[in-house]
Every structure is written in structure tokens, then in C-alpha cells.
């Protein structure tokens, strides 16, 4: 009897141990439109194919490899989802912190980006698709939609080198939205990172992201980033951004990138 009890206890302990070391792996978000040609003529199919199929895929692959190495070495991860890992990047040991920052950041940022685009003919890219909730937040923070798109465009144009421009939820009910930029694949959820320049509104939750790495536009536009930015607004889904805003308010940030 005691022997059988011991076996049961041993099995429970082993199951618990293996659950603690269960693999945390991240997946690419599926495109919510019909393939790489869907955003033509604004974003060309070849860019979509490379950007989604190689750049974004590469970030996910490299992140997963880093996570596998970390858990194999016995590290207990502070979170089991991408957003949780991004938020806790500062607390991670090397080399996982660098992997989560660069590869995890790339995975998170591109998930948000690809999911909030839509074909140029889709009604969701029209301003009319902005939810009343988001409209109210825009009014409080920027007065008009024209203002927020103009300021975001300006911020995106000023990023030097590789990086992103963001419209973020600040958590401040008086001024709920703010614009910020981050270099490389950093993102405001990471907070202020040691050795990196301070991020305006660090810790805020992005609901809209503009990729200004050259790979996002170089095949079609060469060095002309302003022309890419004009194209971007024609395929930006305000419906998706509205959903992101609702998710941010509800504390369900992970849904934006999955």
C-alpha cells in the first residue's frame, strides 16, 4: 500500500516538474487578409512576402530557439506568452534578455503590424471605422484624426536608422493616447532599457505601429520614406486599431499580436 502511494506521489512530482519545464514557443500571427497581394498596390506583394515570410518568420524562429535553450538550461521563465516576456525583458538573464529584446521584440512588433493592415478597398481603412471609444480617446489626446495621423507621420519620418513609430495607450484617462518612437525592435512595453536612450511614455501599450526599417519599404520606394508613409495610411485598418484599443483597456494586450 505504502509502495503504491509512493509511486503515485512520484508520478505527480514528475508531471509537475515537466510542466514547469514545458516548452514556451511563439507562433507567427496569421494574416487577416487573403495573401501577400492583398495590400496591392499600396504595399507590394514582394515586400509582403519577404517582410512576413522571412523577416517576421526569422524573428519568431530565433526567439523560439533562444527560449528552447533557456528552458533546457533549467531557467524558469517569468511569463509563458510573448507579451509577458516582452514586459519582463529587463528581469531576464543574459543571453535570453538580448534574444527577447531583439527577436521577441521583432516578433511582437510585426504581429501588431501585419494584423492591423487591410486591403485598400476595405471599409476598415476608412476613418468611419474608428470606434466611438477610440474616437473619444483621439479627441481628448489629439483633437482630430487628421492631427494624430499627421503627428505619427512626422514622428515616423524623423526616426533615424531602424525603428518604429507608435500610437500608444497611456493608461491616463485624461490623455489616453500618446505617440512615441523606439529604435531597432525595441517597443514601449519593454520600458526604459539600460544603456538605451530614454523612451517617451515608456511602459505605454502600443495599439498602432509603423515599421520604418528600410526593409519595410525599400523595394518599392527606395529611400523615399514619406511615400511609404502615405501608402501605409491607405492600408491601416482603423477597425483593428479600435479593437487594439479595446484590448488595451481590458488588459488583454496579448490578443493584439496573436
Amino acid at each position: 500500500m505504502a509502495f503504491q502511494q509512493s509511486i503515485k506521489i512520484l508520478c505527480c512530482v514528475l508531471l509537475a516538474a515537466s510542466a514547469a519545464h514545458a516548452q514556451v514557443q511563439v507562433k507567427q500571427a496569421a494574416l487577416p487578409y487573403a495573401g501577400f497581394k492583398a495590400l496591392e498596390p499600396r504595399i507590394d506583394a514582394r515586400t509582403m512576402e519577404l517582410h512576413y515570410g522571412t523577416h517576421y518568420a526569422g524573428y519568431v524562429k530565433n526567439l523560439n530557439a533562444g527560449l528552447t535553450d533557456a528552458t533546457a538550461s533549467g531557467l524558469k521563465l517569468p511569463a509563458t506568452d510573448l507579451t509577458g516576456l516582452i514586459r519582463s525583458v529587463k528581469s531576464l538573464p543574459a543571453p535570453l534578455n538580448t534574444t527577447v529584446r531583439n527577436q521577441g521584440g521583432g516578433a511582437w512588433n510585426h504581429g501588431l503590424y501585419f494584423k492591423h493592415l487591410a486591403p485598400p478597398a476595405s471599409p476598415s481603412v476608412q476613418a468611419a471605422a474608428i470606434s466611438p471609444q477610440l474616437k473619444a480617446a483621439i479627441t481628448l489626446s489629439f483633437r482630430t484624426v487628421e492631427n494624430v495621423t499627421a503627428e505619427l507621420t512626422a514622428a515616423a519620418g524623423k526616426v533615424f536608422g531602424s525603428g518604429w513609430a507608435w500610437l500608444c495607450y497611456t493608461g491616463n484617462s485624461g490623455v489616453p493616447l500618446a505617440i512615441t518612437t523606439t529604435p531597432n525592435q525595441d517597443n514601449p512595453l519593454m520600458g526604459n532599457l539600460p544603456g538605451a536612450p530614454a523612451v517617451k511614455h515608456a511602459g505605454c501599450t502600443p495599439i498602432l505601429g509603423i515599421d520604418v526599417w528600410e526593409h519595410a519599404y525599400y523595394l518599392k520606394h527606395g529611400p523615399k520614406r514619406p511615400e511609404y508613409l502615405a501608402d501605409f495610411w491607405k492600408v491601416l485598418s482603423w477597425q483593428a486599431v479600435s479593437a487594439n484599443y479595446a484590448a488595451a483597456l481590458a488588459g488583454n494586450v496579448a490578443a493584439m499580436v496573436a
Binding site: 525592435q185 526599417w213 527606395g222
Partner: protein, 235 residues
């Protein structure tokens, strides 16, 4: 109203290694028109298509006539505004212009060096003499040097450069990487050979396969130019 004074670009860049920075930026061409100093876009020492098939003519044209040209234009604009601010004793404005001067000044310095570091494949010869001896002493062989350089440069996150530089104090060769257009001089190294890994340097041809670009570019490195820079740096 521009003051017409020549502004030493080195003042703003690489304060930690001003002599090294000054030596580099003094080689940049500028003209003075109506009392206003303006940096000039240098001509390439070869045709835009001369580095084919390693670097396409399309990339070279865009890189030289758009990207580098924009750095020069924006640098001159920032310097003119800086001169105005200085004569108006507007310190806040002067401070706010620093990043534009760093970005565009660094971009101009770096690309000015880059074009001379390259040459058509038929004119390229491997390093020899003192430079080769120094490379072999430090890395064991030219192959090990290029492999190490390529690996470190491929690992640059986002936009930046890989460099072979000379440490002015130790007189030793070093490999270093810099982000964006940060000048190498800020690390206390004299730039000898720089490889641009901003995506615009290779994307149209190599797409995201930066390691392929880094493998190929060694075919068009002008080691004679690197050797000249090495000799001047050691002096």
C-alpha cells in the same frame, strides 16, 4: 544669416578622440560660397556600375546620389542653423541641433571613407606588407580576419557599420561596430575600412541575407586604400 565661419565637424563628433576625428573630417571637401562654408558630396572614384556584380549599379546610384547626398544636404542645413543660433547666443537651439549634426555629419564622414574603401573587382588585390603582417599577427590569417569581421558586422542590430580601425594609443588593429551613423572616432579608433550594413546598402540585391552581402563584398575591397589609411594613422 550664416556667419560664414568654417565649422570643424570634429568638434561635434567623437569628443573622446578629437585628433582622430579631426584627421578624418579635414579630408572632407567643402566649398565657400558667398562666405558660407558647405560640405560637398564627393564623386565616386569609379562609375556607379563598376562594382558589379558584387554591388549593383542601382544600389550604388541610390546609395551615393540619394542617401549620401541627403546626409550632406541635411548636414549643411543643420550647420547653417547652428551658426545662426550661435551668433544669436541661442544655446537651447544649438543643443537641439546636435543630433542632426551627429546623424548627418557621421553619415557624411562614413560614406566618404566607404567609397574609397571599395574598387572594381579587377583592380582589387589582397593586402600585403605591413598591413597584412599586422592582420596576421592579430587574427592569424586574412581569412580568419574576414570571417571575424563578417560575423561581428552581420550581428549589428538594425542599422550600422562594421569597421577595421587603428587604436591610436596601442597602435593595434581592432574590429568594431557602430550603430546608425555614429562615427568610429568616438571609440578612439581611426577608421581604416568600413562596411555599411544599413539595409539600403544591400537590400535591393541581397534582400535580407546580410551574410551573403558581407561574404561578397570582400571581392571589391580596395586594400591599397586601407593600407594608405593604416600608414597615415600610424604616423
Amino acid at each position: 544669416m550664416a556667419s560664414g565661419r568654417v565649422i570643424n565637424l570634429a568638434r561635434f563628433l567623437g569628443r573622446a578622440a578629437e585628433p582622430a576625428a579631426a584627421a578624418q573630417s579635414s579630408a572632407l571637401q567643402y566649398s565657400t560660397v558667398g562666405g558660407v562654408a558647405a560640405y560637398k558630396l564627393p564623386d565616386l572614384p569609379y562609375d556607379h556600375s563598376a562594382l558589379e556584380p558584387v554591388i549593383s549599379g542601382e544600389i550604388m546610384e541610390l546609395h551615393h546620389k540619394k542617401h549620401h547626398a541627403a546626409y550632406v544636404t541635411n548636414l549643411n542645413k543643420a550647420l547653417e542653423e547652428y551658426a545662426d543660433a550661435e551668433s544669436n547666443k541661442d544655446l537651447q537651439k544649438m543643443i537641439s541641433l546636435q543630433s542632426a549634426i551627429n546623424f548627418n555629419g557621421g553619415g557624411h564622414i562614413n560614406h566618404d571613407i566607404f567609397w574609397t574603401n571599395l574598387c572594381p573587382e579587377k583592380d582589387a588585390a589582397p593586402p600585403s606588407g605591413e598591413l597584412l603582417a599586422a592582420i596576421e599577427a592579430k587574427w592569424g590569417s586574412l581569412e580568419k580576419f574576414t570571417a571575424t569581421f563578417s560575423a561581428k558586422t552581420a550581428a549589428v542590430q538594425g542599422s550600422g557599420w562594421g569597421w577595421l580601425g587603428l587604436n591610436k594609443e596601442t597602435k593595434a588593429l581592432e574590429i568594431a561596430t557602430c550603430a546608425n551613423q555614429d562615427p568610429l572616432a568616438a571609440k578612439g579608433l581611426v577608421p581604416l575600412l568600413g562596411i555599411d550594413v544599413w539595409e539600403h546598402a544591400y537590400y535591393l540585391q541581397y534582400k535580407n541575407v546580410r551574410p551573403d552581402y558581407l561574404k561578397a563584398i570582400w571581392k571589391v575591397v580596395n586594400w591599397e586604400n586601407v593600407a594608405q589609411r593604416y600608414k597615415a594613422a600610424k604616423a
